[in-house]
Symmetry: C2
């Protein structure tokens, strides 16, 4: 399948790549089945208490994460490109159905920053996956904010949790 | 082809539908070939002086319109869904390659409002097209601003220009 024309800019974007020893089709399942997503999607001690996804362009991406103190953080976005066992692209700049997420806001509010995320998986060796996660932003401040939130550590820890879940058996 | 799951809300969205007497495949060409787009895309006496499009999800949608006084207005967006001779969806909330256009919610009232637009064409009778244009917004203010700019009149006049161009022969 032809992939969409995404381009990257190392001032605006963050990426990390790892080889993991579970196959792409199980990484895909972990990313696309809500009951599996809830088991690994955010680094402990936070929990993913809700996941609701419709894995196709325009479809809903919705999760609710809960802090150890019980605070909830909902994230809503929209899938842009989904290629089974290969690639998932989604953004929080659009709501489900491609509706723009942002209207004008009062000046000075610390609004959520916008990103588009891509997870790519490809076979590595007999039973492994080359896994790459990339987040792209509108500006350097967005990339910095995402980096300061611990992009690589957070996504890396979540990936460790994903791999451990798959090895336990799904 | 399965269409994406778009839903509409009459408080947030604007739409108009017309029957035109040129066939869908020529409407599609008028919407997707830059040299044709430049001939009809904005209502006279404004002109479309530049069009650069890459008609696939993630591809560039870029036009420059020029006022009678010579002022230029550039529009850049990203295609989300393209189904030949049937449907074109794009947004200005994302730049080409699905990059978010804005870092945060814009503050104040003069910022460009975000929209996702859809043009649908289907056969009507032997040689006609049922043509529908829809723009969806994040909030009622965006829809009102678009309506006040003359959405239906502007898109309708552009459609008249498209039909006239096709009848002259393309």
């Amino acid at each position: 399948m032809t992939k969409s024309p995404m381009t990257f800019n190392n001032k605006l974007d963050l990426t990390f790549e790892r080889i993991v020893d579970v196959p792409p089709h199980l990484v895909w399942r972990a990313w696309t089945e809500p009951e599996l997503m809830k088991q690994w999607f955010c680094p402990l001690p936070w929990k993913t208490i809700h996941a609701d996804v419709d894995v196709r362009p325009g479809g809903k991406f919705h999760t609710i994460m809960q802090s150890p103190e019980g605070h909830e953080h909902a994230g809503t976005g929209c899938y842009l490109e989904t290629v089974k066992n290969e690639r998932i692209v989604w953004t929080n700049a659009l709501l489900p159905g491609f509706r723009p997420a942002l209207a004008n806001a009062p000046c000075g509010e610390d609004t959520e920053f916008m990103f588009t995320a891509m997870v790519e998986m490809s076979p590595h060796g007999e039973n492994g996956t080359r896994y790459r996660a990339t987040v792209i932003h509108a500006d350097e401040a967005g990339a910095k904010k995402h980096a300061d939130m611990g992009f690589e550590g957070g996504w890396g820890t979540a990936l460790d949790q994903l791999v451990a879940m798959v090895k336990r058996g799904i």
